[in-house]
């Protein structure tokens, strides 16, 4: 059981190629981290997996537990078990956070089946307490006027409420203060387990102190160029990306 990305090539619709033969396998129960320089294609990878219409896959595959998700609409992918915590969560004016998450839960029920409102709110409040999100956030419009850190907590809240089998967290640590980072990491760790595979995109080793990855990858120029254990994150933290780029240049000219 895994999310397999196989030799993925993708570009902006009618434009520039961003992913150039990317391979990655995220097994259920494991946490993979991706690091990489700005503009290397990390967010694009996550959006392509989620089905963003700005991008087109020119070749390769994305398989969720063996089935291709590329023909599916973004909502069908989500219902198949995929979740993306956005680097920049979107504001939706006039739609309360509670109604939004409720609509997402309702979408997972069979036709004609109704969500139990009492159970739903009970669960929502419990998850909000874990993430230390005040109750007033249920009535506020989705992400509207939320601080950067509040938006990130709200992404993790949605993940907790939707219980995906594969979750991609795109820079969920950016914008969080040190206390919030611990709270959010605890929230993510609480969801860690045999039934979920995670891909954590980050620029900072610090997050990986709290959410320990099984594997660390480096993405440069639309490809995974290095894969190793958690020690790789420490190495990047002290040395930056230039040494990897130099290695790549050498092996290319060799």
């Amino acid at each position: 059981m895994s999310l397999v990305i196989h030799n993925l090539h993708a570009r902006v619709v009618g434009g520039q190629e961003i992913l150039r033969g990317l391979n990655l396998e995220i097994e259920k129960g494991r946490i993979h981290a991706i690091m990489g320089p700005n503009g290397s294609g990390k967010s694009t990878l996550s959006k392509i997996i989620a089905g963003h219409p700005d991008y087109e896959v020119t070749s390769g595959e994305v398989l969720l537990d063996g089935t291709s998700i590329l023909p599916l609409s973004p909502d069908a992918r989500a219902r198949a078990g995929l979740f993306l915590a956005f680097q920049y969560p979107v504001e939706i004016p006039g739609v309360s956070n509670a109604n939004f998450i409720r609509a997402a839960r309702q979408a997972r029920l069979a036709e004609g089946e109704e969500l139990d409102a009492v159970d739903y709110y009970g669960e929502l409040y419990k998850e909000m307490d874990t993430l230390e999100i005040p109750r007033t956030f249920t009535a506020r419009s989705v992400n509207e006027g939320f601080s950067g850190g509040e938006k990130k907590r709200n992404e993790v809240l949605q993940m907790a409420m939707l219980k995906p089998s594969y979750a991609i967290l795109d820079e969920t640590d950016s914008g969080l203060d040190i206390d919030a980072l611990k709270i959010v990491a605890a929230g993510v760790n609480a969801q860690r387990g045999a039934n979920v595979g995670m891909l954590v995109i980050t620029h900072y080793q610090r997050l990986l102190d709290y959410i320990t990855p099984d594997v660390v990858h480096v993405l440069v120029g639309g490809r995974i160029v290095r894969t190793a254990g958690p020690e790789l994150a420490h190495e990047l933290e002290s040395k930056g990306y230039d040494w990897i780029r130099e290695d790549l240049a050498e092996s290319a000219s060799a």
């Binding site: 989500a78 993306l84 979107v90 006039g94 739609v95 949605q158």
Partner: protein
């Protein structure tokens, strides 16, 4: 001639003399005034040719069984201090909490108030001339009106819950002339909701007028929910005057009708008077909504804020013409106006016509109209949570209009309106 529409409206002899002569004068004004055309400034973009008032006759009373059904179907607010149910301009049900009479509140059908409180009604009945184009229809209303709500709130009385009135229209080829008068004396506070509904699908006409008078320091919150059937032609004129430090909130939820014209004037006559003018409109199929407003600042330090939002599906059409006028002595006034159109179909048409006439100094004023589609990133965000595109569209559209409802400060009313809006959007 205009016979069919005006003939069977002989004012009852029990009605006060002033009212009967007003009616007569209005009838001749209606006959003299020309029918507006699109060439008139206030009728630009309007499909006024689409109807002829002569196609309708004053509504006949409905049969007993039908009025009983309409009363049963008059489900509005969860709690209210009083309610009227009118069917074809006839009172068919009424309720008033004892608290109202105890506080000296007058809550009467217009036909009764005209007899029991003649002088009081005379002071407020149609005292504002039409300023937004509908002089002819206002005259028609004046000539034909026979029923409506009269709500008088004495000085200092702050009502703890809203009141509501249902105006039903039944039959075919019928015309109703609903009227609502609110008089809120100094430092009083009141909320009233008018529901306009049809008993079935048929071509009918409604021609209504409101007179809302907000005394010094008083608060009036007024809601009109327009849910006429899809063949009804509706023309509604609202005149609100606000005395010093008074505050008016007027919210229109426009959902029904074939052609629906609403004119709304907020006249800020006293210093530091305030008005909020809000409207949320759902337009689909070939519906047309035509809204004309005037924020009329006549005293210093007055404040007006207008937010009108339209969502358009199919071949629907909306027009919002919003004027702001600040009189020379109305210094230090604030006037804001925002019109937002959400277009959900390439065949829909949204027109926005802002106008400013600022004659005072030291005025803060802003106005703007935007027209856009569903934001692709909002849609993707929703879909990425598993919400199908169609549901996401509906939810985003709801949110767009709900921003208007959110501005209404009374929770029980707002929740009912949100439910009404959700029901309206269910088919999209």
């Amino acid at each position: 001639m205009t016979d069919s529409l005006l003939q069977d409206a002989p004012a009852s002899a029990t009605l006060p003399e002033w009212f009967r002569s007003t009616k007569t004068a209005a009838a001749s004004a209606f006959e003299t005034l020309p029918m507006p055309t699109r060439r008139d400034e206030f009728w630009r973009f309007c499909n006024i040719k689409a109807f002829d008032p002569q196609d309708f006759t004053p509504a006949r009373p409905v049969a007993r069984e039908i009025s009983a059904e309409l009363v049963a179907a008059s489900n509005g607010l969860k709690t209210s201090l009083g309610s009227f149910v009118f069917a074809n301009d006839q009172l068919v049900a009424r309720r008033a909490a004892p608290e109202l009479a105890k506080a000296g509140v007058v809550w009467l059908p217009l036909s009764e108030a005209l007899v029991s409180h003649s002088d009081l009604v005379a002071r407020y009945f149609m005292q504002t001339d039409s300023v937004l184009g509908s002089a002819k229809f206002q005259a028609l209303h004046g000539a034909s009106v026979k029923e409506g709500s009269f709500l008088y709130v004495p000085k200092g009385v702050r009502l703890s819950a809203p009141l509501e009135a249902f105006h039903w229209l039944a039959g075919s080829g019928q015309a109703v002339f609903p009227h609502t008068i609110i008089v809120a004396e100094e430092d009083s506070s009141v909320t009233l909701v008018d529901w306009f509904k049809s008993a079935g699908e048929a071509r009918n006409m409604a021609c209504g007028v409101n007179d809302l008078h907000v005394g010094s320091g008083a608060e009036v919150r007024y809601v009109s929910v327009q849910e006429w059937c899809r063949q009804t032609v509706s023309l509604h004129t609202n005149a609100t005057t606000v005395a010093k430090r008074g505050s008016s909130i007027h919210l229109g939820l426009h959902l029904g009708g074939a052609f629906s014209r609403s004119e709304s004037l907020s006249r800020l006559t006293g210093a530091a008077a305030r008005c909020d003018m809000l409207a949320a409109t759902v337009a689909d199929s070939a519906q047309e909504f035509d809204q004309r407003t005037l924020q009329d600042h006549r005293s210093p330090e007055t404040y007006s804020d207008l937010l009108y939002k339209n969502t358009l599906y199919d071949q629907a059409k909306t027009t919002v013409s919003g004027l702001i006028r600040v009189e020379p002595h109305a210094h230090k006034s604030d006037a804001f106006q925002k019109v937002r159109n959400l277009i959900l179909s390439p065949d829909a048409e949204a027109n926005s016509l802002p106008g400013l006439e600022i004659l005072a100094d030291d005025v803060r004023c802003s106005h703007g109209a935007t027209t856009g589609e569903i934001d692709a990133e909002e849609l993707f965000y929703m879909q990425s949570r598993g919400i199908p595109a169609r549901d996401a569209y509906r939810l985003i559209t709801y949110g767009f209009l709900n921003e208007v409802l959110e501005r209404f400060p009374c929770d029980t009313v707002r929740e009912t309106l949100q439910e009404t809006l959700r029901a309206r959007l269910r088919s999209h």
